[in-house]
């Protein structure tokens, strides 16, 4: 069964119903494994135990951006290829992406307080993630502002793509603003600069959170298809009444 077969909503519903228990179980296993690794992880010699926040902050921040990427691909699916499930995928992803962005901000803020002494700072990364959060809220508002789902889909698709263009611009512009006004507080994370004992839990949690997104997204897509069926039936009922 190829990917295009999933385009049929009924077939997708059956696929989602079968896949979800497995995905949920896999997510739970990886989360537990990740949490175990987090517990066993050593303290950072500079930060101390606070480094443990990194294991939930970084996956959420990464997913916040990734989900907008998923929505952008779905937007292309709606506008260019008219893929029937693209609308559903886009609408279902938005609240989940907003939640991950919110968590990225919260965990980042809680990490910042012991690290920098402040809950918030208007530096490059924080501001661009905050703007990303605003864009998620804007998209969700737009979805709910139009009654007809397929029209809402096209409007949301355009805004998603414009937002996708805007994200690197925002990151770049806030970087510029930051270098001219205050020194950047850069969290130096990545690749070889992080020791394996901290890298492994981070990667496990990253995979676990990605699976969590996949599971939630499939479930939300399923709900959205059901919601549209409800709407169709209600319209039919109202028409024949």
């Amino acid at each position: 069964m190829s990917l295009i077969d999933l385009a049929n909503p009924s077939r997708f519903l059956r696929f989602a119903g079968r896949a979800m228990p497995w995905l949920a179980a896999l997510t739970a296993i990886l989360m537990l494994a990740g949490l175990y690794q987090v517990l066993m992880a050593p303290d950072d010699y500079q930060m101390g135990a606070v480094v443990k926040i990194m294991f939930i902050h970084v996956p959420n921040a990464w997913l916040a951006m990734f989900v907008w990427g998923v929505m952008s691909i779905a937007a292309l699916g709606t506008l260019v290829w008219r893929h029937p499930l693209a609308d559903v995928a886009a609408k279902a992803a938005a609240p989940i992406g907003a939640a991950f962005t919110f968590l990225a901000l919260i965990t980042g803020s809680l990490w910042g307080r012991p690290m920098w002494g402040t809950y918030w700072e208007w530096d490059a990364r924080l501001t661009s993630v905050l703007i990303l959060f605003l864009m998620y809220l804007g998209i969700m508002t737009l979805w709910r502002a139009v009654d007809d789902p397929s029209r809402a889909a096209r409007a949301a698709a355009i805004l998603t793509l414009v937002g996708a263009i805007n994200l690197p611009i925002i990151k770049f512009s806030v970087d510029w603003w930051n270098t001219l006004h205050q020194p950047a507080s850069v969290i130096r994370i990545g690749g070889p600069t992080i020791h394996a004992s901290l890298l492994l839990p981070l990667l496990t949690m990253a995979v676990a959170f990605s699976l969590l997104f996949l599971t939630l997204h499939l479930a939300a897509m399923r709900n959205e298809i059901l919601r549209r069926r409800v709407r169709t039936l209600q319209l039919m009922q109202a028409a024949t009444a």
Binding site: I56, I106, L233, M236
Partner: protein
């Protein structure tokens, strides 16, 4: 486990993640139940989708 002097922040961060993820899972499950119930009631009332009718007719 010794979380050091900043234990409050670590615990709060993890708690926030647990709460929000739990809310997400709860929302997805509750929404599913709600749509399922409404669909059942509508289909019990005799309303059927065009494709469901065609599938029933052709089977």
């Amino acid at each position: 486990m010794n979380l050091g002097q900043h234990a409050f922040f670590i615990v709060t961060a993890y708690a926030a993640v647990v709460i929000v993820v739990a809310l997400l899972i709860g929302w997805v499950i509750a929404d599913h139940r709600r749509q399922h119930n409404i669909l059942r009631k509508l289909e019990a009332g005799g309303v059927q989708r065009r494709s469901a009718r065609q599938a029933a007719a052709s089977s």
